[in-house]
Symmetry: none
Subunit: 188 residues, 4 copies
C-alpha cells in the first residue's frame, strides 16, 4: 500500500470525514468533507479512489481503534471475568467519550458501501475481544453456540448500552455495569 503522498493530508481527510459523517450522515458531499479537512475536493480523490473507498478505510480504522482501546493494558494476571469487565468498560468508555467516532461507525456498519472485505477486516480487529469471549463462555451455557453468533450478540448488547449511556450520561456507569452483568449471565 506504499505510503502515499502526505500522511497528514490523508488523516486530515479521515478526521474530517468522521466529524462530517457524525453530523450530516453518509450522504454528506465529499466536497464538504474536503473543505472540513482543509483540502480541495479534487485532492480527496488522490487519497481515496472513491467516496466508498474512503468509507471503507474509515470503517476498518475505527473498528480497529475501538478494538485496540478495548484490549489496551488488559490485566492478564487477573481472572477472566475481570479481564472481560475491563475490556467491556474500556470499549464502552471509548465509544461514549468519542461520540463522533461512534456515530460515524454506527452509520458505516449499516452502509451498503462497506464491502465484505472490510467487514471481514472489522471482524479481524475484534479477534482479541472474541478470544476473550471464547474463554469466558468456555464452560458456560453457550459453549456450543457458534462463537461468531455469541460475539454478535455481545456487540449488539454493547451498541445498545452505548446508546443509553450517551442518552443518559448521569447513569452511564450503572448502565455499563448492568449490561456487563447481563452479558456475563448470558455467556458464563
Amino acid at each position: 500500500m506504499a505510503r502515499p503522498r502526505s500522511e497528514d493530508r490523508r488523516s486530515a481527510i479521515m478526521s474530517a470525514a468522521i466529524r462530517i459523517i457524525a453530523s450530516q450522515g453518509l450522504g454528506a458531499p465529499t466536497a464538504t468533507i474536503a473543505k472540513e479537512a482543509g483540502v480541495s475536493n479534487g485532492s480527496l480523490f488522490t487519497y481515496f479512489d472513491t467516496k466508498a473507498d474512503l468509507f471503507n478505510h474509515l470503517y476498518v480504522e475505527l473498528k480497529a481503534e475501538m478494538a485496540a482501546v478495548a484490549m489496551d493494558r488488559l490485566p492478564v494476571e487477573s481472572d477472566i471475568r475481570q479481564q472481560m469487565a475491563r475490556m467491556w468498560s474500556q470499549w464502552l468508555l471509548w465509544a461514549t467519550s468519542s461520540p463522533e467516532k461512534r456515530r460515524a461507525l454506527a452509520q458505516l456498519v449499516v452502509s451498503d458501501d462497506i464491502t465484505p472485505e472490510s467487514h471481514q477486516a472489522g471482524k479481524q480487529a475484534m479477534a482479541g475481544i472474541v478470544k476473550l469471549l471464547e474463554r469466558s463462555r468456555e464452560n458456560g451455557p453457550m459453549r456450543d453456540v457458534p462463537l461468531s453468533f455469541v460475539a454478535a450478540l455481545m456487540s449488539a448488547l454493547a451498541d445498545t448500552t452505548i446508546d443509553f449511556m450517551i442518552q443518559d450520561p448521569a447513569n452511564a456507569d450503572q448502565h455499563c455495569a448492568a449490561a456487563f452483568d447481563a452479558l456475563w449471565r448470558m455467556v458464563a
Copy 2:
C-alpha cells in the same frame, strides 16, 4: 362521483416499496417504486405527500405488523416463560419468513426520514411485548434496570439472532432457541 382513492393502489405502493427498499435501499427512486407498484410516477404522490411520508407510514405499519404477529394467540394460560418463548419465536419467525419486510424495516429504523412521532408509534406497537418482558424480569436480576433499556437489549438480541437465522437457515431453530435461553438468563 369520481374514481375513489383505492386502498388497493395504496397497499400496492407499500408492498412495492418494501420490495424495492429491500433490494435497493432507501435511496431508490420513487419512480422505481411506482413502476414496481404498477402505478404512475405522480400517483405515488396522491397517496403519500412525500417520499419521507411513505417511509414513515411504512415504518409504522411494519413495526405494527411485527408486533401483532409476535403477540398473536399468546398462550395466556401458560406460565410467563412459555408466553415469552412463544412471543419470541413468533417474532423471529415473522422476520425470517418475511425477509424483505425485515430488511426494509432494518433500513427504515436508522433513517433520518423517520420522525420522532413515527418512532413513538413504533414503540407503542411494541407495548404488549414490553409488558411481557416486564413481567418476565419482575423478580429477576434486571428488575431495577430501566425497562426501556432492557427492552432495547432484547430488541438488539432479536435483531442479531434474526440475522443469523437468515444467514444460516439450516440451524435457524437452534439459533432462535439459544438466543431465547440467553435472553431468559439475562432477565429472569
Copy 3:
C-alpha cells in the same frame, strides 16, 4: 493552480440567456440556456447560484448597458433640449438595434424573480438620465410632480415607442422624433 473561473464562460451564459429569454421567455429551462452557451448543465450553476440569480444579474447588467449607451458622449456643451434629444435617440436606438436584449429586459422587469435590490440597482443606473430629466422639467409644468413619477412616465413612453419602432422600422425615426416632441411638451 486550477482552471480559473472564466469571464468568457460567464458572459457566454449571459448572452445565451438573453437569446433564449427573448425567444422562449423566462420559463426556458436552464439546460437550454447552458446548451446555447456551450457549457454543461452544471456549469451554469458554478457561475450563478440559481436561475433567479442569473436573472437578477442579467437585469442589472442590461439596465446598466442601456443607461450607459443612452448617456454616452452626451453633448454637454449643447442646451438641455439637445442633450435630452440625444439621450432619447441613443436610448431608443440601443433598444431597437438590440431587440433580443430589449425583449429579455422587458420580461425581466415584470418578473417576480427580480429582487428589490436589483430593482434599486436598476434605478441607480438610470440616475444620469433622471438627472437630465430633472433639469429639463426645471421650469416646466411638471416641476412640482414627484420626479420619480415623471421618470416613470418617460420610461413608459420610451418603451411604447420602442415597440412601435421595432414593429414599423420604416418609420422608426419619425416615431422616435414624434415621441420625443411629445415628451418635451409634457415636461418642458
Copy 4:
C-alpha cells in the same frame, strides 16, 4: 359560442382566476383557481379548453369592462377636453378601486398565452376611448402621428399613473390630474 352549462360556474371561475392571478401570478395552478371558485379541477376544463383559453377570455373581459367603465355616462354635451378628463378619471378610478382586476390584467397583457386575436379584441374594446383621443388630437401636434401609436402612448401613461396612485393613495387625485394635464399637453 352557445351559452354553456351554468353561467354561474363559469363566472365563478373567472372571478377566482382574477383573485388568484393577482396574488400568485399566471403560474398559479389551475387546481388552485378551481378550488377558489368552489369547483373541481376537472370542471374548470369543461368551461375552458385550456388554461390559456381561460386567460384569453379573462383578458378580453377585463379589457372590455375597463373600457366600458371609462366611457360610462360620458358628458357628451361637454367639450372634448372635459369628456377626455372624465374618461381618464373613470379609467384610473376603476383600476385603483379594483386592484385585483388591474393586477391580473397587467400580468395578462404581457403573457405569451394571449393570442393576437385576443389582443385585437382588446383593442376593439378600446375603440371608443381611441375615438375620443382622435378628436382630442384633431388639431394638435400629434395629428399626423399614427393614431394607434398615440393610443399606445396614452395607455402607457395611464398604466404608469395607476401604479403611482396605488402606491401613494394619499396623492392619488393629484397624480391622476397631473398625468391628464401631461397627456393633454402631449396631444392637444
